[in-house]
């Protein structure tokens, strides 16, 4: 009984942690997209988000793409933000550790569903 309670507790904590992680990223992406919209009066046409290991620790990197209205030039805007290692789900953290460059998280099902909702 005690073991079951511990397992349930750990699972609940894990799920809560995962939800918080994705919610943080989604909130961040939406904020940056809104900022671009506010400043330039046009919405980004796409975005990609990565987690990367740097000398200063883990970082989220989000790229946004939009087309400038007058010149018709494509612009790429990149926002970078430090991320606390303890907030990153173990599965993604393992991927980041293995990846030589950066790990894309925008293609993960959780994030795509949440953003699309």
């Amino acid at each position: 009984m005690i073991a079951l309670t511990i397992i349930f507790g750990l699972t609940a904590a894990l799920i809560t942690g995962l939800v918080a992680f994705w919610q943080n990223i989604i909130g961040w992406i939406k904020k940056a997209a809104n900022k671009i919209k506010e400043a330039l009066g046009l919405a980004p046409e796409g975005t990609r988000t990565f987690i990367t290991q740097t000398a200063e620790g883990l970082k989220n990197r989000s790229k946004y793409y939009y087309k400038e209205q007058v010149t018709r030039e494509w612009q790429e805007v990149v926002y970078t933000k430090a991320v606390d290692e303890s907030e990153v789900p173990a599965e993604i953290l393992a991927k980041v550790r293995r990846a030589p460059m950066e790990t894309e998280v925008s293609t993960t099902e959780e994030l795509s569903l949440a953003i699309g909702a």
């Binding site: 940056a32 796409g46 989000s62 790229k63 793409y65 018709r72 790429e76 795509s112």
Partner: protein, 323 residues
């Protein structure tokens, strides 16, 4: 917003740019009398006496200006004409966080040299027609030369960002043509050009090589914050403000933030019909600014903004780039 793919189909349109020719040659200078210049120069609005700069920043600007103020000594008497002839020209790039006085410094530089300043208005030079932007640039340099004005590119990364390496359409050709013409103009221009930017990392390396001096602007330390509070609070304003306390308690703010806070504190006191701009109003005003900055910092750092080709964007948004 969908991820890893295009959001709308509006990107397919090429607009009028696709209908025009993409001649790579540099457009001919526009001949027009000086009084008919479409890019008006103005008298400098600020001087160094009005500014509060860290000594290192001020010294770096003055060192850069020695090239223009001590030209005869340097290139004539000291013989640099024989060894550094090509370094007779070159621009000064003022870079650092917003609100730190880069634009004011550009005016102050022009003022110190006794010249007018021609502030580049991108909306006047950028055109959706291929080749027109380059032609406008040529005309602008021509205006600056004929009116003996100092050219000033504010937010210069918009124009000096890296060129597109993988050109896929006429838009990309146009972007590169504009930047190439600007490179040529800078190489041939025998006068001072000023640039200001928050994002020096975005500059095309070819532009960086052509700009001789780079001067870093930083947020003020406590001592300079106190000087800025004193500068922006008029002596006749009735107030019980405690400047040392404000300066110590609110780091990470710019001169522009302090100026805004003073105005907002005064507005509140005036609205409430009080004869005194209370210390608390300054605190509330600066707290609102700090809060808005913190909200912005939740976005993280804007690390890059650059022009890219449509081909590149297509690749990125399909997610088929190699990882």
């Amino acid at each position: 917003m969908p991820l890893g793919r295009r959001i709308t189909s509006s990107a397919e349109g090429q607009g009028p740019a696709a209908e025009k020719d993409t001649a790579p040659a540099r457009p001919a200078p526009v001949e027009a009398p000086a009084e008919a210049c479409p890019f008006p120069a103005v008298e400098p609005q600020y001087s160094f006496e009005e500014m509060i700069l860290p000594p290192a920043t001020y010294d770096a600007i003055q060192d850069a200006l020695a090239l223009y103020e001590k030209r005869e000594l340097l290139f004539g008497q000291w013989g640099l004409e024989n060894t550094h002839r090509k370094q007779r020209q070159g621009g000064i790039n003022l870079y650092g966080p917003s609100g730190t006085g880069k634009s004011m410094a550009a005016h102050a530089i022009a003022g110190q040299l006794g010249r007018k300043i021609l502030c580049v208005d991108y909306s006047q030079i950028e055109s959706k027609y291929v080749g027109e932007t380059a032609k406008n640039l040529v005309s602008m340099f021509d205006c600056a030369k004929r009116t003996r004005s100092i050219l000033f590119f504010d937010e210069a990364d918009a124009l000096l960002s890296r060129r597109v390496t993988n050109m896929s359409n006429s838009t990309d050709v146009s972007v590169n043509q504009t930047r190439s013409v600007l490179l040529l103009l800078l190489s041939e221009y025998d006068d001072l050009v000023l640039f200001a930017s928050n994002f020096i990392a975005n500059y095309d390396p070819a532009f960086l090589r052509r700009i001789r001096s780079h001067v870093k602007f930083e947020l003020p330390d406590e001592e300079n914050r106190a000087k800025l509070w004193r500068r922006y609070i008029p002596p006749q304003m009735p107030t019980d403000v405690d400047i040392p306390r404000l300066s110590a308690q609110y780091p990470g703010i710019s001169g522009s933030d302090i100026s805004t806070a003073v105005l907002n504190a005064a507005l509140r006191a005036a609205r409430l019909g009080e004869g005194l701009v209370r210390h608390a109003y300054f605190e509330q005003a600066i707290q609102r600014i700090v809060a808005s900055k913190e909200e912005n910092s939740e976005l993280g750092t804007l690390t890059s903004r650059r022009t890219v080709s449509e081909e590149y964007v297509k690749k990125q948004l399909r997610g088929d780039v190699s990882k």
